[in-house]
């Protein structure tokens, strides 16, 4: 299971006569597998919840329009963070700090460009009426 480097030998670990060379390492692999699986499943459950709530709020018009927009924005932001954390594996660990910095930097550029567009053109729009 641990030293299979090629898909051609995929049945090695299921072969009845095959003995694992190191059970401790095998156990470690299984734990790592379970940890990864847990990350994906918790990501899915959280994402489903964070999707269901804003849809329900909009479907039943549970709030006034402006607080509805705010709630949708907060849920979207949290869900994006969950996706980055659980699916794209961007977290605070040393291995992914480059990716995290890149994402945050792009986020700043994005806020400046998209937010600036909305700000300037919204201002112009308000002046026209």
């Amino acid at each position: 299971m641990t030293d299979v480097h090629n898909g051609h030998t995929r049945s090695v670990h299921t072969h009845p006569g095959w003995q694992p060379p190191a059970t401790a390492r095998d156990q470690g692999d299984r734990n790592a597998y379970r940890k990864d699986l847990y990350s994906y499943i918790s990501g899915l459950v959280l994402a489903l919840l964070l999707t269901a709530v804003p849809f329900a709020l909009v479907y039943w018009h549970a709030m006034t329009a402006s607080s509805l927009l705010l709630a949708i924005g907060v849920f979207a932001l949290v869900q994006a963070i969950v996706h980055f954390r659980c699916f794209l594996h961007v977290d605070l660990s040393r291995g992914s700090v480059d990716h995290l910095l890149l994402v945050l930097f792009s986020g700043v550029i994005l806020i400046m460009m998209a937010g600036g567009t909305v700000w300037i053109l919204g201002n112009l729009h308000a002046r026209m009426y």
Binding site: M1, T2, D3, V4, H5, N6, G7, H8, R10, S11, R25, D29, A32, Y33, D36, L37, Y40, G43, L44, A47, L48, T51, P54, F55, V58, Y59, A65, L68, L69, I72, G73, F75, A76, Q79, A80, H83, F84, F87, L88, H89, S93, G95, S96, D98, H99, L102, V103, F105, S106, I109, L110, M113, A114, G115, G116, T117, V118, L121, G122, H125
Partner: protein
């Protein structure tokens, strides 16, 4: 990614450092592409936000959007993202070729559900007189949302190519790296979709 080698410390000892470095470099380059893509989407979101009230007397968001269809698309894309995660797990923990290809096929099926509901929505918008030439609002909509659909379609084609490569050549370093980048692309598209269903659809219906 680097956490793969951290999780399996005994695995890459025989591999030359060159491989790890090249893999990290290629993956980081792909991240840069994804973020430039994100900025392009972000600017189109800005355009849409500016244009959303410019309906020129034509149909507006409340006349054109169907919340049920959007919910189905959202769940389908999320499930396809999860299934791709299962495929990456099969890859990372070397479960073999068959579960890997099976998960990729399930991912494709969910993506197909997503795309067919999306195309159905676009067609009913056309039928309701809300084609891209109707107003500034519909132009901004059709500049943004179908572009994401086009990305998903490209991802599907890429996935078919990967499945063929795995079936033909097995899981080697090249297919592994390809699958890793396709995974980044696929999960990234789901994040763009969060912004689309929140800003475009739910924001328009709120």
């Amino acid at each position: 990614m680097s956490d793969r080698t951290a999780d399996n410390p005994g695995m890459s000892l025989t591999a030359a450092h060159y491989h790890v470095d090249r893999e990290d470099e290629v993956t980081f380059g792909f991240w840069v592409f994804l973020m430039s893509d994100a900025i392009m989407f972000g600017v189109l979101f800005g355009t849409y936000a500016v244009m959303v009230r410019a309906t020129a007397g034509g149909p507006g968001p409340k006349d054109l959007y169907d919340i049920h269809s959007v919910l189905i698309q959202t769940v389908a894309l999320l499930l396809s993202s999860f299934c791709y995660g299962m495929a990456s797990l099969a890859l990372k923990h070397r479960s073999g070729r068959r579960p890997l290809i099976a998960w990729l096929v399930v991912t494709l099926l969910f993506a197909f559900v997503f795309l067919s509901f999306e195309v159905h929505d676009f067609l009913s918008m056309f039928a309701a007189g809300g084609g891209p030439d109707r107003s500034g609002f519909t132009s901004a909509f059709f500049g943004l949302v179908p572009l994401h659909g086009l990305h998903v379609t490209t991802g599907c084609i890429w996935m078919v190519v990967m499945i063929v490569q795995i079936a033909r050549y097995g899981v080697d370093d090249d297919t592994r790296l390809g699958l890793e980048r396709l995974g980044l692309f696929w999960h990234f598209l789901d994040i763009v979709w969060i912004a689309i269903f929140s800003i475009v659809y739910l924001g328009g219906l709120a």
